[in-house]
Amino acid sequence: MATLQAEIKRLQGDRTRSEQFSARTSYELSSLRSRLAQLDQKQDSIVRDLDRRIAAGLAGSQEAPGEAVPELTPEEELEREAAQTQAQIEFLDRSLFAERIDPAWADSARRALDEALQDEKMRGLTLVSQECRTTLCRLELHLDSSLSPAQAFHNLAQHSQWWGAGFVRIDEAGSAVVYLAREGHSLPPSQ
C-alpha cells in the first residue's frame, strides 16, 4: 500500500513538472512569435523611413547635430505603441518567471480561474495556458469568432471574480494574454 502511495505521489510530481515544462515551452514559443512580429514591424518601419528620407532628398546625407527627428506618422505612432505593449508583456513575463512558486496560492488561484472560465458568461473564451507563481498569474486565452475583443474584455473584467490588479491585451486575431496580481499586490511597474 505504501509503495502504491509513493508511486502515486511520484507520478503526481512528474505531472506537475510536465505541466510546468509545457507552460514554459508555450511561453517561449509565444515570446518567439511576438519577437518575430516585432522584427517584421521594425523592418517595415525602417523601409518606410528610408522611403521618406529618399523622397525628402536626404538619402545618403548625415543628419546635422541637433536636427529635429522627423515626426512619426499616425501609423508609425500606432506601431510604436504596439511595440511598447509588447515590451510591457515581455517585462511581465520576465517578472512572472523570476518568481518562485507558492504552491498553496498558485493552486488555489488556478482553481479559481478554472472555475471562473467554466462559467456560462465566459463562453467563447478557451484557456490555452495558465501559470501562477507567488504574486502573479498569466493566462493565454483563445477567443472564438462569436466574441469581439471588447466583449471578451468585458467578460474577463466582470466575470473573472478576480479582485486584484490586472493587465490584458486582446488581439483581433483572437488571442488574449492576461496578467493578474494576487490580492494586495500590484503588477510590477515597467522599467
Binding site: 500606432l78 506601431e79 505603441e81 504596439a82 505593449t85 510591457q88 517585462f91 511581465l92 458568461k121 475583443p149 471588447a150 474584455f153 468585458h154 473584467a157 466582470q158 479582485w163 486584484g164 490588479a165 490586472g166 493587465f167 490584458v168 491585451r169 486582446i170 488581439d171 483581433e172 486575431a173 500590484s186 503588477l187 510590477p188 511597474p189 515597467s190
Partner: protein, 180 residues
C-alpha cells in the same frame, strides 16, 4: 551708490521671494487635475443583476435583496497622454459580509487589438450606513495611456442586507499634468 545698493538688496529680496513662491507652488510638471463626480453618473453594466436606483442625493444604490449590481462609472479625460495617478470611490457598505469592490481601468485600442490595465480596491465589511468609506486607488499598471485611451471605474454593489442598501456616493480620478 546708495541707489545701487538698494537695487541689489531689492534684487536679492525678489530672488528670495521667487524662491519661496517656487517652493510653495508645484511646477507645472507636478501639476495634477483632480475631478470629483457624483455616483449618479455611473450606469448599469450590461448583463448585471441587481436593482439600479439613482437617488436625488447623487448616489447609486442596489435595492435588490438577492443579486449584486454592477455599474460602470465614466471619467472625463482632460490630460491626453500623461496618465493618472489614482483616485477614490466613496461608498456606504451596509452588507455584513459582502463588500463593494471597484476597479479603476485604463483602456485603449491599438493596432490590431485592445489593451487594458486596472487596479482594484474593496470596502471593509460594515453594517453601518452612517460610515462613509473611501476606496483608494493607485495608477493602473502598466500605464496604457495614449491619445486613444479612456478611463472608467467598474463597481460591484452587494444586495441589500436587512432592508439596507449599499451605495456608491461619489468618485474621483487624479490626472497627471494639466489640460493639454
Amino acid at each position: 551708490m546708495k541707489a545701487k545698493v538698494l537695487n541689489l538688496a531689492g534684487g536679492a529680496a525678489l530672488a528670495l521671494i521667487a524662491g519661496v513662491v517656487t517652493a510653495i507652488n508645484p511646477s507645472p510638471a507636478h501639476a495634477v487635475d483632480t475631478k470629483n463626480y457624483p455616483g449618479a453618473l455611473c450606469v448599469r453594466t450590461h448583463g448585471s443583476g441587481g436593482t439600479y436606483v439613482n437617488w436625488w442625493a447623487g448616489g447609486i444604490s442596489n435595492d435588490n435583496d438577492n443579486s449584486a449590481l454592477d455599474i460602470t462609472c465614466p471619467v472625463i479625460k482632460d490630460v491626453i497622454t500623461q496618465g493618472i495617478s489614482g483616485g477614490k470611490v466613496r461608498v456606504w457598505d451596509t452588507h455584513y459580509n459582502q463588500d463593494i469592490s471597484c476597479s479603476l481601468f485604463s483602456y485603449r485600442f491599438e493596432t490590431g487589438g485592445h489593451v487594458g490595465s486596472w487596479t482594484t480596491a474593496t470596502s471593509k465589511n460594515s453594517n453601518n450606513t452612517q460610515t462613509l468609506q473611501e476606496l483608494v486607488f493607485g495608477a493602473p499598471v502598466p500605464n496604457t495611456t495614449n491619445s486613444n485611451s479612456h478611463y472608467f471605474y467598474s463597481c460591484r454593489i452587494p444586495p441589500r442586507y436587512q432592508g439596507l442598501a449599499s451605495f456608491v456616493s461619489s468618485y474621483s480620478v487624479i490626472e497627471n499634468g494639466q489640460n493639454e
